[in-house]
């Protein structure tokens, strides 16, 4: 069964179509990345999936349940870390976890054990009786995520979970999400961090101006952009513009002392560069080749910016 199934989903706010007829499926146990520039429709999509917004058209299924019709049953299956999500500053860490757990029906021994496990895992056990108001953003986000997963949800929705965090908190959170995924939870994560998406996600979906522009495995997406592979080289002296011009090279970008030569045929292009260097007595200081990064793909597909 698909954990999440979306068909022709549309959401409008007045004249603005925030989500425009999108469809996708997320398999059970999949780590799904939802990428897009600011205002692309990521948060609106998550709010639709988690039952906070009602779609104007289209269908959503969360483990076979339509959150528009039975929001409570759908919510019981999920853990949600919204974009603007804070925990209660007036409560202690433990009280925040207990509050979340009790909403999901945890009680007594179960609640105590699960809280203690998470407090230890997130490195905040010693601070469990402190009010959250004194915590840094990173520590607050640890409490937030611990609260969202206290009931061990089958599906976890995360909206920019590592935005603006310190390195330690970011790593801890990423590791926890990975572990949950390994244990079978489906992860639906929106992020600006292309590298996170590249490393973590089995499938990524890129949305721009409310429409899906690509959906595939990260490596497959990169291969569809082979024209974006390049050779980067630097030489022992200044090189005249146009020296490497050839049918093989589609674009040349000079940055500092480095030349970046884009090509669709890496093998022949490398031989060409080496030959030109040899004929002109140039010493190659460094030379490397690179395929398109997920960031290149993202920029290419989203036109390099938001609306």
């Amino acid at each position: 069964m698909d954990a999440i199934r979306v068909e022709s989903l549309t959401k409008r706010f007045g004249d603005l179509t925030a989500v425009d007829d999108i469809s996708f499926r997320v398999e059970e146990g999949e780590f799904f990345g939802f990428l897009g520039p600011n205002g692309a429709g990521k948060t609106t999509t998550i709010r639709l999936l988690t039952g906070l917004l009602t779609p104007d058209a289209g269908r959503i299924s969360i483990m076979g349940i339509d959150p528009g019709r039975d929001a409570i049953s759908a919510k019981l299956l999920m853990g949600v870390i919204p974009e603007t999500s804070n925990v209660y500053a007036d409560l202690t860490v433990k009280q925040n976890l207990y509050l979340a757990g009790r909403y999901y029906g945890l009680s007594g021994h179960q609640l105590k054990k699960r809280s203690e496990d998470l407090l230890s895992k997130f490195g905040i056990y010693d601070r469990r009786d402190e009010r959250v108001r004194t915590f840094s953003k990173g520590l607050k986000q640890r409490v937030s995520i611990a609260s969202a997963i206290i009931h061990q949800p089958g599906i976890l929705f995360l909206d920019e979970p590592t935005e603006g965090l310190d390195v330690q908190s970011r790593r801890l959170i990423i590791r926890t999400i990975e572990e949950m995924n390994e244990e079978g939870s489906t992860i639906f994560m929106t992020t600006h961090n292309i590298e996170d998406a590249n490393v973590l996600c089995r499938k990524v979906c890129i949305i721009n101006q409310g429409k899906i522009v690509a959906i595939d495995r990260p490596e497959s997406l990169k291969h569809t952009f082979d024209r974006m592979q390049f050779i980067e080289a630097s030489f022992d002296r200044e090189v005249k513009t146009g020296l490497f011009a050839s049918d093989l090279i589609s674009r040349i970008v000079v940055s500092g002392d480095k030349w970046r030569l884009y090509t669709e045929d890496l093998d022949r292009a490398v031989k060409h560069v080496a030959g030109v260097a040899e004929r002109n007595g140039l010493k190659i200081i460094s030379l490397r080749t690179s395929g398109p990064t997920l960031e290149d793909v993202f920029v290419e597909l989203t036109g390099g910016g938001g609306r």
Binding site: T50, L52, I72, L76, M78, N86, Y88
Partner: protein
């Protein structure tokens, strides 16, 4: 509807509200200090028998206390960024509305009970109908807490704006509801306006319970409070749903 999940959500929401919002300054100021100062301002220096004034005073205490918690919760949560998380829990908007209402009702009843006990012990207050007093207090607390929740529905994440709005609504009501001027002495437009205030019917119920001089039939008072309660809850449901994601 899964009733077990609904009741659980209701209890947890109410407990959360009690734990977080009872100690907030706006609740203490608008729910506790304001009625006390209003009482002192009108009572001190005037030749009024406290027994005559007490039903109106106790109704005012219940009115201010019950309606002071509700207006604060939603804008506070929107401002603090906790509202979206709250909505992501297995609850509906109605669960949250009723949880906010219950927290306001309990606050109102506690403050009213303390005032009643103080009155009974030190002010020689004669309570002729304990049962009716309990019913009236319960009904009034729910009605005014529902009003409080309704007042929190505008789409703003600024608690100060909502508290100001709630004061604008609440203050005029105490002057047309028989709190300071007995209902018998209200004539013309004042009398007509008094019918529009839910506080009028509670003051009258307390007059019934404390051997005072009620002006409406007992059943009218009870029915009107119920009608106002349903009206406030329906309006709260409508507006909270409409403004759910606004101000996030």
């Amino acid at each position: 509807m899964n009733y077990q999940v609904f009741v659980r959500g209701l209890i947890v929401t109410t407990e959360k509200n009690i734990r977080i919002y009872y100690k907030k300054a706006p609740v203490v100021i608008f729910g506790l200090l304001f009625p006390l100062f209003m009482f002192l301002a009108f009572y001190i220096g005037r030749e009024i028998r406290i027994q005559v004034f007490f039903p109106g005073f106790i109704a005012m205490v219940l009115f201010f206390a019950s309606s002071s918690v509700g207006p604060l919760i939603t804008p506070w949560e929107k401002q603090a960024g906790t509202y979206e998380r709250l909505l992501s829990f297995p609850v509906t908007v109605d669960t949250l509305i009723l949880g906010d209402m219950l927290a306001g009702s309990i606050y109102g009843m506690i403050i009213t009970l303390i005032t009643l006990i103080t009155g009974a012990l030190f002010l020689d207050i004669d309570i002729t109908g304990i049962g009716l007093l309990v019913v009236a207090t319960l009904l009034g607390a729910i009605c005014f807490a529902a009003l409080g929740v309704f007042m929190s529905s505008p789409a703003t994440p600024q608690p100060s704006q909502i508290m100001m709005l709630s004061s604008l609504i609440r203050f005029p009501l105490i002057f047309i509801s028989g709190v300071f001027i007995p209902l018998q002495e209200l004539h013309g437009a004042g009398r007509v306006l008094s019918y529009l205030s839910p506080l009028t019917y509670l003051v009258d119920l307390f007059q019934w319970a404390m051997g005072g001089a009620p002006v409406h039939h007992l059943a009218v008072d009870l029915i009107m409070l119920l009608v106002f309660t349903c009206g406030f809850l329906f309006a709260a449901h409508l507006f909270h749903k409409r403004n759910l994601m606004k101000g996030l």
